[in-house]
Amino acid sequence: MTDEATRRTVSQIPLLKTHAGPRDRALWPQRLKEEYQALIRFVEQNKAADNDWFRLESNADGTRWTGTCWFIHELLRYEFHLEFDIPVTYPDTAPEVAVPELDGKTSKMYRGGKICLTEHFAPLWARNAPRFGLAHLMALGLGPWLAVEVPDLISKGLVVHKERQREASE
């Protein structure tokens, strides 16, 4: 389910123009520029809306992405490392985002910590390829996933705030 707020957020992310994957040596650098442009805009918008929640960066050829995402729950900030590879079939298929440290803690995850997206995501991506990019993946995939899973994991005690963890061990 894509809620109204998510739809509004996504509609503000600029769409991409270049239909090229990492195997397309000539056009991939252009696509990569567009990915960064869209991501920069999205992060700036999030900051302006006081809802800054992730950072991403890639290796030089843009095939491997790593970063952090965070979620504020009851005034505490929970931060997670995230990573994914750009599949050779990108942008026709979306990358599989992984949050490795949560692997094994929720059933809404495939092995290796890859997040399990809702059944609405694949059709949505297919309908909008190749104009959706990584910023859209964050907004429609990881964002909603964190919003559902993190509070649940916290309530079950499977995710503990780092400060609290330290206090508990002292």
């Binding site: 600029p14 990569l32 960064y36 442009q37 599949p87 079939t89 092995r111 104009r131």
Partner: protein
């Protein structure tokens, strides 16, 4: 208390003991493993592992069963379906198997067939090769423990498909997709379209009660990108299907059935008997097996698919007497190159607007989703920029 020297000595002793144990274990395994068999015999004796297979020849079902030993099959994904597929082909005496999987055996896989608890932690391809080699030492194995969808691995994957045949340098005869995700299927599709490699797609639904196999001959039949994925209609009210708290379910039965119809189709195709299915579905709820064939879509997004179609047309024109596949349905692929469509399930009307035409398919088969035809409001696109990629990367880091 023991000194460091004493402990070092003890470690060396234990290491030697371990080596001896391993050697003993290997000797036992070698003794248990039957020697290789040069020629498949039809002789019915309890020591001949091929007698019942060779009987297919005597009964007139298969013309030349021994030919199985000349074929190479690549199995991509050695999970619930792939492992059983590989075992069936091994027992049938296939010439060579190439196995691709990046995953490890986990205890969570034990609701499926083939792997055993003591193999937990081993790579799936390594564990599978060990078991399969014991079952049939006549089969050659080549294993690759990696994810085929990343840049580097994909290049290697393409190379092994086109050169990994029984006779090194020759292409494999068939690629079988036993993967569990869309990205990997699309990667196999991309490779096979570029190489003109015939392959069979297989899949089990996330609710574990349906599955399918689909034979794809690039240029002739619809490729995986020609239409949205074809799935078996579940006949389950979506509203009653609870997805909360789970990703996917799986049953050894459904996976076994799908592996069975997959390998059956492979044997029929390779050994030329019976009718080869182009699409065969399995609906476990109603026990219904819908079939169909679909020709390639001239507007397919994959340019190599379109190129293969041109070549196929030429080939058919040159050999007018070649029997052409009976094609029952053609999917109209809606052109949506610049259409932006944000879907939500908020209202029925909205859902209707966001849904494209469902192609005319036989009863029991449908598409996983549709692509709407009409172009709605065009969103804002990224602007032209003077900034270099390095500038943008630096800007992103500074945010």
């Amino acid at each position: 208390m023991a000194t460091v020297e004493e402990l070092k000595l003890r470690i060396r002793e234990l290491e030697n003991e371990l080596i001896k144990c391993k050697q003993k274990q290997c000797a036992v395994e070698d003794a248990l493993q039957r020697p290789k068999i040069d020629i498949m015999s039809a002789e019915v004796v309890d020591s001949n592992p091929y007698s019942r297979l060779m009987a297919l020849k005597r009964m007139g079902i298969v013309d030349d069963y021994e030919k199985i030993r000349t074929f190479t099959v690549a199995v991509v994904g050695v999970g619930g379906v792939g492992s059983v597929t590989a075992e069936m082909l091994t027992r049938c005496g296939i010439g060579k198997l190439l196995l691709f999987d990046y995953d490890k055996v986990e205890l969570a896989n034990m609701n499926r067939l083939f792997f055993q608890p003591h193999q937990a932690g081993l790579s799936k391809v390594e564990a599978a090769e060990h078991t399969l080699r014991n079952i049939n030492p006549d089969v050659s194995f080549e294993t690759h423990n990696y994810n085929i969808t990343t840049m580097e691995n994909f290049t290697h994957f393409m190379d092994r498909i086109s050169h990994g045949g029984l006779e090194e340098g020759k292409p494999v005869d068939l690629v079988l997709s036993c993967v569990d995700n869309f990205e990997a299927r699309m990667a196999i599709n991309t490779a096979c379209n570029e190489l003109g490699q015939i392959w069979v797609e297989s899949g089990v639904s996330e609710n574990a009660v349906s599955g399918h196999i689909q034979l794809i001959n690039p240029g002739e039949t619809a490729c995986f990108a020609c239409a949205p994925p074809l799935v078996v209609a579940a006949n389950i009210d979506e509203k009653t299907l609870k997805r909360e708290g789970v990703c996917a379910a799986s049953l050894p039965t459904t996976m076994g059935v799908v592996a069975g119809i997959l390998v059956q189709n492979v044997l029929k195709y390779l050994l030329k008997f019976g009718t080869v299915s182009y699409y065969l579905g399995y609906n476990a709820m109603q026990d219904f097996f819908p079939t169909m064939a679909m020709k390639a879509n001239p507007q397919c997004n994959d340019r190599y698919c379109r190129k293969q179609q041109e070549e196929y047309k030429k080939k058919v024109a040159e050999q007018p007497k070649v029997e052409v596949v009976k094609v029952e349905e053609e999917v109209v692929h809606e052109d949506n190159e610049w259409g932006i469509e944000l879907v939500s399930e908020v209202t029925e009307a909205e859902l209707q607007a966001a849904t494209g035409t469902v192609p005319d398919l036989p009863e029991g088969i449908t598409v996983a989703y549709t692509i709407p035809a009409e172009v709605k409001e065009s969103g804002e696109t990224v602007e032209e920029t003077e900034q270099s990629l390095e500038d943008l990367m630096a800007q992103m880091r500074k945010l």
